[in-house]
Structure formats: structure tokens, C-alpha cells
Symmetry: C3
Subunit: 316 residues, 3 copies
């Protein structure tokens, strides 16, 4: 299969998944994001590098938070941003997604940021468009959420530098989480020493044994000696589905509190993609504590998204 | 009656309808749109020509697609764009439209883009405001949708150059379509040789005989020898109203398929204002075929709207 | 209690209420607003003074009109503006307001414009954030709406120059109106000779006697000799609550018509925060008459909000 994400000369055409993305591109995105965090080599006109370009947020599944991060990132680069409210758009008039995309391309949209509840929709679009427009997957079903994976790994790099010595645990509903998939893929590509997943059996994907991760079903075992703890947001819908017993039961077994944090290494870093359910998957003392890098993730997320968009438009 | 659209020195003050618009102004809009398609004479600062100006989208009838085209056009000219969600605005607090407009003028809105389900509302507003603000009608009931008419004629000009030898057929629900009215008016002003309308009797306006068009009730007769076929979107509401029998019945009688396309001239151009109902008024093979200029219309629509806005603000 | 609004060197950090705001700062805001009305000392780059800054509208209580004024003001200063639709945001996922704000600060939001139905929320946020972000209260319950108070006083200053000789009457539902509270506070700080409130007993706040205003229960008494009449919008909800008898009853007792206007001084100025209920609290002849400054208020409101935002960002 042709690699849709990278052009023949290895440049970033679309960002659909971490899977299949070269380590070299990931590291280049990280280096560019560093610039936007104003550490080095920043030039004034970097902030006008998307001037005259149009970025279109197409969220078929509502997420004000994620949409806002892309909107802020694009506007900070001087792009024109169009937020399409799909619920009230011609989608309801029965227009197909591809017709909608082709119309927007005709209006000269340069970058589409797409979230959809169905896995593979961003890829399907990337396959079918006839133009040089770029697709960024902002979450497709339970498959991937690549910019989240990138910003998580970038946050780890900021604090831990090297991945080759790290033990990292991902905690929660692995099966339904696109964030977990992107995290596993990015950590794997970057050569992380050990990737662990911790969660109830009912929330492990059936192919978990092919993912090159170590599976744990208790926090007590799984957190031992880890350098990074990546919590996942528990979807409250799962509880009404009875897949997960109840909020308090879940917290009792898999919630991260001060005591459990001590099982990990002393300087273990705590991440969470947000928004956090305080007292459900994480205790406030930990979320707001000195090992938490949760707000750093949000900050770095803007820089990562700026870097991705600039790379797509300018590094061809 | 005073011509509201044009100032005394023949400049474009408002765009309310194609009816009453000088051929000279239409041709000037086309020439300016040509520039924005980057064919000739484009200057860099044309893209900042609405810098500091405010364009307000006031859609009392929802249309994400049309609103997006105006938003993109205005932002590409560096205007500030305000999208007012009327449903949730003070309209629901009982504020009158004129009070709302006068308030927005006090906030220094320069151009209003207005869609309303009632014919004549944009004109009513243009008549009553006391300021130099500009009104663009983005569709008023079944009356007119002038920028759509302009972009349709512009698309024809791109492919066919001269109108004086053209036979053009407009197909569908003529009575309820503001697009059809604007198309008839613009084609007429530009001196089109023959304008035909094709559709069931129930969907012809009562004054059709005064419109200087030839009326047909079958595709087989109406498409013979035409150079351009302008399809209209069928409103699915009509079918539940029983005005139109059913989707499949409609397609059987008035849908454009490959076979019927052959009745027209060999190089006949196919247009549609979008979003298309595939398999209802037009077959996919035709909509995506080599005679289709449907996506060209979308592209040219941005340039036309840019040209209209620049003309209003700068050519006084 | 520490003054949250002003930094130690007396600069404007937040705008939470007129109460506690120095007269000197109010006058400085007025002078800066004057500039944006293009009267004097305007420099071209004043219009890019928020370039690269991000202003976030967080309206927990819907108000398209007020939100639009802040959006226009911020965009006119070249800021990036984010309008968060709270109803559909992660608020509905149970995220706390402070978590939401801290996330947005991590995304580098510089100014938050906050409206909330509960009094004191903007202050609570200002107290708890750990950053240099600025909070503007755009209305908190029945407590304050400081930019409205400022623009009202600014409008009076434009027409009447000096406050020390003015008699000003505020008419309507004083108890539930945040506008009335901010008006009383700003007029008081600016040294207005006499502040009157006029309204039914049921709509007077219980602490009215501590507010240093004179209370009247009829228009005939209250309007005598006044120089400025500030009408309030009557909330129609009050009538279904039976707090106010009916629209026509209310208009009969407290509506401002031509005849009552004559009770006041000849050149008395008429203000209203909008949107007006024609025929309920004010007659059209008065609202549109030559003593009305209602549309001036709207215009000046943009300049006041520009001045406040520039002061927060640049005068530190």
C-alpha cells in the first residue's frame, strides 16, 4: 500500500496516524515545535507563515477543546480559519462527505482538520481527493489521534530527554481509546524501552498481544518502576453500558492517587489528555501535583499543531 | 423608483438583485473576479483591501455552505468577519431586524450579507438604513440570489466566451427557486440568445410568460441544441408536499443522465448550484463527468464574492 | 481585601466591577476610547496592538449582542478571537470552570471575556488563576456589567462634559439589573451631583438605602429636572413571574414617552443598554428621537472595549 502520509521525497502530505510515520519526521516536528515554544531560532515571519492559507475544522464528532487547539494554532500562524458546524450544515441535506470536501477544496481550503466517530474516515478522504490539500486526523473512532500522541511524546521528551531508557505505563480503557493507540505507536517508533498498558480485561483490545506492550491488570504491578504514567480519560458512557462497574469502583481499582503514584519511580511524570474527571481516573492531588505535566501537554499541543501545519504547507 | 443598488454615479452601493443591475457593472465584476483567479493584474495588496473593514453574515435562514463562501471571500481580503447565529441572538428577545442592523452599523459593520426566507427583506433593509453600509442579498425567499446568478454566468463566460450565440436551459423547480430567477435575469441582461426553462407545470411561476423565456415540460424537447444546462436543486420538502410525486418519479422525468445529456450539443456545459442530490436531479456520471463545471462554479464563486465586496468598498 | 483589579502600581489587571475602580483609571480609559473614536492622537499601529494576542469569549449565559461587541473590538485591534460555545463544550462533560480556564491559559489565551448567570464568578476566576491572563466581566448575574457602565458614563461625558452638575435618573428593574449597579457605581465614582432610581417598590434592591441614591416610585416625580434618563431593559420573564403586572401596565407606569420626557430638562439625554423593547419600557418616538443617544452608546461601546483591552495588555 502506498504511504498516503508521506510524499515520495519523504515529506508530510497528510497526518492520518502515527503508524507508518517515519521517526525522522516525528523528530523534525518536535524540533519545529521547540521553536514555537520560543526556545531557539524563532523568526518573526514564522508567525505569518500560513498567511493567505485556509484551515477548515470539520468536526463530525463534537469536541470544542480539540477544535480550539487547532483554531488557536492556525490563527497564531495567520491562517484563515473556518469552523464548520456540521450538525447544521448541508450534511443534514444529505450531502456526502466527499462532496463536501471537494466543494471546500474548490473554495481553496488548504488544510482540513477532521474528527469523525468512524475509524478510517480521514484516510478515506485522503485517498479520494484530487488536489494538494492536506488532511489532519483529529481523532477517528477508536483508531488514532496522532497530534495527541505527538504532543504526549513531546512532553515526555521535554522532561525525560531520551526514550531508550524509559518505562512508560498507559492506564485505562485501552480498547476504546484512540489516544492510547497513538501513544503506543509513537512510543514504539521512538524506541521506548518498555511500554505497559494497565486496565481491566474488558477494556483491552483483542489484538493487544500483537502491539509489543506488556499488559497488567492491577496498578500495583503495572506502575512498579515506571518513569511515565499516561492516564486515559474514562468515558462515562462505558459505565452506563456496564462495561465498567461504577465511578467509585473504577477509581478504587485504576484511579491514580498519591499512594499509587509512589509505586512508580520517584520522578515519574503524570500525563492525561484531558479533560480530567477529578476523582474518577485521577485524584486532584495528583492532577495538580508537582509530578503532573497535564497543563504542559496543553501548552505543547499548540506548538506541535503549529509545527505540523507549517511542515505540511512549507516543507515540500 | 430610485435604484437602490447603484449610486448616482453608477457605482455599486448594494447587491439586492440582478434585476436592475447594469450590464456594465456585471462585466466589471467579472473582470475583477478574473484578477482574483490570478490570471492578470493581481497586486499583492489586493488581498488586504478589506483590512480594518467588518463583514457581518446575517443568515436568518441556515446555509452553512453559502455563509462559508462569503466568510472565505471576506477573510481572503483581510476583512474581520462576524457570523451572527440569529437563532440564538436577540432576535429571540423580540428585537426587530432593523434595530439589529442599526446596532451593528453603530458597531461599524461595513458589509452585511443577508439571507432571509422572506422575499424583499434585504431591499427593505437597504431602503431604511441611514449610513453608508452595504447590503448583499445572499438569497431572499424565492426571489433572487444575485451572487449565485453572477457566478453561474461567470462560469459560462469562462467556457463559452460570448452569450449572444448561446442557448441555455434551466431545469427544475423554477417557481420556488431564487437561483432560477437570478439566472434568468443575468442571462437576459448579458444578451443570451435563448433562455429556456424546463420543468413540470406545477413548478412554473404564474408570470413565466412575462420572463422572456421559452417553456418546456420534457427534457427531450427542452435540451435539444442547448449549449448550457443549468440544473436546480430539488427541495425534498416539495415531495412531502405532494407538489412533486417522488424522487424516483422526478428523476425519471427531469433527472439529468448521460443519455439525456447527449440530446444537448456535444460540448454542452452542465452547472448546478449545489449541494447536489445524486440520483435525484442529476446522475453521478454527469455530475462528475467532463462536461460538468460544478466545482468550477464553487471556485469562481469565491472570486465573484471577493470582486463584489471590493467594488462596494473601493469603487465609489 | 486585596484589590484584584489593579496591580500594585495601580495598573488595570482585571475588570471585574466598577466598584473598587479608581477614578483615574476610568478617566484614562475614556481618554483612550476617545482616540479610537478617531478624534485625536490615533496612530496606525494602535490597530495592531493586540497582534498575536488571543481573546477568548466565554459566555456561560447567551448574549450574541454583547459577545459581538467584544469580538469586533478585539478583531479591530488585530487579536485572534476564540468564541467558545459553552453549551456544547466540555462543560457538558463535567469539566470545572477553573480547569477549563487553566487549559485555555495553557493554550496562551491572554484575555478572557466572561459572562455568567451567577454573581462573582469572574472574580472567583481572577482570584484563582496563576498567570498573567486578564479577566473582563461581561456581566455576572445581577451584580455588575462594568464595560456597560463605562460606556454609559462615557456617552454622558460626550454630551454633557462635566458630571458635577448632573442629575441622572435610572429607570426600571433596579434589583435584577447588573447594568443599574454598574451605572450607579460609575456615576458615583465620577462625582455625579445626584443619582436617582425610579421603579416599582418590588424591583428595588433591599440595600437601596446604602447606595447613596434617591429613590422614586413615579416617573412624574423622579424625572423632574434631570439631565440624563437611563432606561433599563425590562426582562419579560419578570412578567410571567407576576413581579411586574403586564407589559401595558408597566408601560403605563414606567414607560418613557414623549410627554414624560418633557418633565425632564429640555436637553435631557436618553440612554438604554439595548436591545430595546419598543412600547414596553420606551416609546419608539423617544428611542429614535433627537434626545436619544442609544446608538451612540453602541458605537462608543466598541471604543471603550478596545481601550480596556489595550490598557490591560500594554500599560503594565
Amino acid at each position: 500500500m502506498k504511504n498516503l502520509q508521506q510524499s515520495e521525497n519523504k515529506k508530510l502530505q497528510h497526518l492520518l496516524s502515527i503508524k507508518g510515520l517515519d521517526k525522522k519526521i516525528i523528530e523534525e516536528i518536535f524540533n519545529d515545535a521547540d521553536k514555537f515554544l520560543e526556545k531557539k531560532d524563532i523568526k518573526l515571519d514564522d508567525y505569518t507563515s500560513l498567511n493567505g492559507k485556509t484551515v477548515c475544522n470539520l468536526f463530525f464528532e463534537n469536541s470544542t477543546r480539540t477544535q480550539t487547539t487547532f483554531e488557536i494554532a492556525a490563527k497564531r500562524l495567520s491562517a484563515n480559519v473556518i469552523n464548520l458546524d456540521i450538525a447544521t450544515s448541508s450534511q443534514s441535506k444529505g450531502e456526502s462527505i466527499l462532496d463536501l470536501i471537494n466543494n471546500l477544496i474548490a473554495m481553496s481550503v488548504d488544510i482540513f482538520v477532521i474528527r469523525h466517530s468512524e475509524p478510517g474516515i480521514p484516510e478515506l478522504i485522503a485517498k479520494n481527493i484530487k488536489s494538494n490539500a492536506h488532511i489532519i486526523n483529529a481523532g477517528d473512532g477508536n483508531r488514532e489521534h496522532p497530534t495527541q500522541g505527538l504532543l504526549d511524546a513531546f512532553t515526555i521528551r521535554e522532561f525525560k530527554k531520551d526514550f531508550s531508557n524509559l518505562k512508560v505505563a498507559i492506564v485505562g480503557d485501552i480498547e476504546h481509546s484512540r489516544v492510547a493507540k497513538s501513544e503506543i505507536n509513537v512510543l514504539s517508533t521512538l524506541g521506548t524501552k518498555e511500554i505497559r498498558v494497565i486496565g481491566p480485561k474488558a477494556l483491552m483490545p483483542s489484538n493487544i498481544n500483537n502491539l509489543n506492550v506488556n499488559v497488567f491488570h492491577t496498578m500495583e504491578e503495572g506502575l512498579k518502576d515506571v518513569d511515565v504514567i499516561m492516564m486515559l480519560r474514562i468515558q462515562k458512557e462505558r459505565m452506563s453500558n456496564k462495561t465498567v462497574p461504577s465511578e467509585s469502583e473504577y477509581f478504587k481499582s485504576f484511579g491514580l492517587n498519591q499512594e499509587r503514584l509512589k509505586i512508580a519511580n520517584n520522578d515519574a511524570l503524570v500525563l492525561h489528555p484531558g479533560p480530567i474527571n477529578r476523582g474518577v481516573e485521577i485524584e486532584s492531588e495528583v492532577a495538580d501535583g508537582k509530578q503532573s505535566a497535564i497543563l504542559n501537554q496543553v501548552k505543547y499541543g499548540i506548538a506541535i499543531r503549529m509545527a505540523v501545519m507549517v511542515m505540511m504547507i512549507h516543507k515540500k
